[in-house]
Each structure stands twice: as C-alpha cells, then as structure tokens.
Amino acid sequence: MRFLPYAVAAWLLLVGLYGIVTSRNLVHAIICLSVAQSSTYVLLLSVGFERGGTAPVFLDVPVGTKAVDPVVGALTLTDIVVGATVSALLLALAVQAHKHHGTLDPERLKSEQD
C-alpha cells in the first residue's frame, strides 16, 4: 500500500501512451492523452498526501490541524485546466482533419499524404 498510488500513476501513463500508439481514431487518441495526463494528477496528489491529514482549508478547523500539501493541490488545478483546454484544441483539429480527409484514422490520414 505504501507504493500503490505511485504504481497507479506509472500504469496510467503507460496505458495511456499504449492507447495513443495503437489508436485507429483521433478522438480515441485524444482521450488516451487525457488518461496519460491523469497520471500526473495521481502522482502529484500522492506526493503531497499525509496520512490523517485533512484538506488545507482552515475555515472550520484551526490552523495547525494536520493537513495535506496545498502546493500540489494548486499544481493539480493548473494541470487539469491545461489538460481540458489542450483537449479542446486537439478536438478542433480532429474536426478539421475529418472535414478535409473524411477519416479520423491516423493510418488512412497518413496514406493520403503519400
């Protein structure tokens, strides 16, 4: 259990990359990229977690209560926002690729260029 969250992060990264490499559809590849990226959320939050710690919000609990690292929380927030916007941008590219080539299959998109 001491190592499990880190192993989950490594697994998410590799399984997401596997999906991108073997993808036959650009929308599927974009979702695989999101899966790979979610490994960074798991890793960041695991690094900052402290057993028995509460959320770093001291409205109802006094300052000094054991809490998890707020820095990784802020970094994960940044990560999620950037991930969402990059997905939107890639999906827009996929829309245009489909309009111009009539397919979202990377193999067929490639053979059209040759």
Binding site: M1, R2, F3, L4, P5, Y6, A7, A9, A10, L13, L14, L17, Y18, V21, T22, S46, V47, G48, F49, E50, R51, G53, A55, P56, V57, F58, L59, V63, G64, A67, V68, D69, P70, V71, V72, G73, A74, L77, T78, V81, V82, T85, V86, A88, L89, L91, A92, L93, V95, Q96, K99, E107
Partner: protein
C-alpha cells in the same frame, strides 16, 4: 511501419520506461508520509499572512500568482486557437441553423429535458457565482466556478435550441467576458506595481480570515478568472455547436 511492428516497438520501450519509472518512484517517500517542508510551512503561516482560509487559493492566486497568470493565458490561447480552427473555411458558407434541415433533422426536445434543464439554469448560475465568490474561503474559485457557470449555457442549449443559446450568450458578451477576465488579472497585478510593491503583490486590505471580503487581491483575481473561464468555455461550446449546426461545406445538403 505496420501497426503490429509499432506495437512491439512500443511495448519494448514501455517496458524499459516502466522499469525506470518504478525504480525512480521507489525512491520517493512512502505514500502517506509527507516529507517536503513547503506544504507544512504554508499550512502554518498562510492563513495569518494572507487571511484566506483556503490555502490552495493562497498558493494559486498569491504565492504562485504569476504562474497562474501564465496558466490563464494558456487557456486564453487555446480558446483562441479553437475559434480560429473552427471558423468558416474559405470554401464554406455559414447558414442560419435550420433545425429542420433535410439531412440532419433535430429531434424535438422532450418536455422532461426542457423542464429539468430550465429549472436547473437558475440554481447552476447561483452555485457558479457562489463557488467563484467563496474561492478564498472554501474549496472552489474562479476556474471551478467558471466551468459551473459555463454549464448553465449548455443547459440552455439542451432545453432549447441553438438560437436560444446564442440569444442568451451573444458572441459580444462571451468575447468581452473572456477579454475582460484575461486583462483583469494583469490589471490587478499592476495594482501592486502602482502601490510601489512587486507585480501581483497582495496590496489590498486583507481583512479577517473567514470573512467574504478578505484576503486582499485573491477574491478579485478569482472573479477575473471566473469571467475568463466562463466566457472561454461558452465560446468553446458555441464554436463546436456552430461547426455542426451552422457551417456548411460546398455541396452539403442544407
């Protein structure tokens, strides 16, 4: 490269990368044992220093305020990129969305969806504003609240038609919300320079922890980010919908 060969090359590389990752990750402190000093220091001093009870908000909008400004401009640039990519191309025409177009007949919205959607719009807007306004007190803030606000526009589309969405969120309004949000962040940063301190220094009165009006520049920055995110996401939504409903390739039946 055939797909089979590519898969084998990837699996070999992934095995090596996975082994390297696991080796590196075993060097981290055990899960649940926090080692770094920064989180502990911030949890001790941030509330007293910035009067914001949500330390994540203090980190995001104050201690790391400049980084978050960069992040906001990543969002801005991405939305701009989508708007440019999805504008009508040279050979395409824009036509008024015809819900009865022969090749894409839109099924009538059921009364159940219409009623639930319209009932939810009000509470969702209120909740979004609450999340934006209380970002320095409880979990939330401009990014989260902005996305909640943008879902209100999606609810309008679901319970009505595309033209209804355009009517409640005209392009001028979403564009200016995004622009004012993006510029507002920098303007609040310049307040610090104007007061003779550093850019994005927290120069406004800090107030008492737990009060709605507290934490100096953090709530105004949350508001700017909320505007930017809400405007940006509504713009994204409209661009994708417009692509399906309004823009026509030459020869496409309308």
């Amino acid at each position: 490269m055939t797909p089979g060969l590519r898969r084998r090359v990837f699996l070999a590389a992934a095995a090596a990368a996975g082994a390297l990752l696991l080796w590196g990750l075993t060097g981290l402190p055990d899960y649940g044992v926090y080692a770094g000093p920064y989180g502990d220091v911030l949890n001790q001093v941030a509330v007293a220093e910035r009067k914001a009870t949500n330390v994540v908000a203090s980190v995001t909008f104050d201690y790391r305020g400049v980084d978050t400004m960069g992040e906001e401009y990543i969002l801005f640039a991405a939305v701009l990129g989508v708007a440019i990519l999805l504008r009508a191309q040279r050979d395409e025409t824009e036509q008024p969305p015809d819900e009865d177009a022969a090749d894409r007949h839109a099924p009538a919205t059921s009364n159940a969806v219409r009623v639930i959607g319209l009932t939810l719009v009000g509470p969702v807007v209120l909740f979004g504003l609450y999340v934006v306004a209380h970002g320095h007190l409880t979990p939330g803030g401009g990014f989260q609240g902005g996305v909640v606000l943008a879902t209100a526009a999606l609810l309008v589309y679901l319970s009505g038609e595309y033209v209804t969405l355009r009517r409640v969120s005209p392009e001028l309004l979403t564009d200016s919300a995004e622009a004012v949000g993006a510029a507002g962040y920098v303007a609040i940063g310049l307040l610090g320079v104007g007061a003779g301190a550093a850019f994005l220094a927290n120069v406004l009165p800090l107030g008492q922890p737990g009060a709605l009006l507290s934490a100096g520049t953090i709530p105004p920055i949350n508001l700017a980010v909320g505007l930017e995110v809400a405007g940006g996401f509504v713009l994204l939504l409209s661009e994708f919908l417009e692509q399906t409903l309004v823009i026509r390739r030459p020869g496409e039946v309308t």
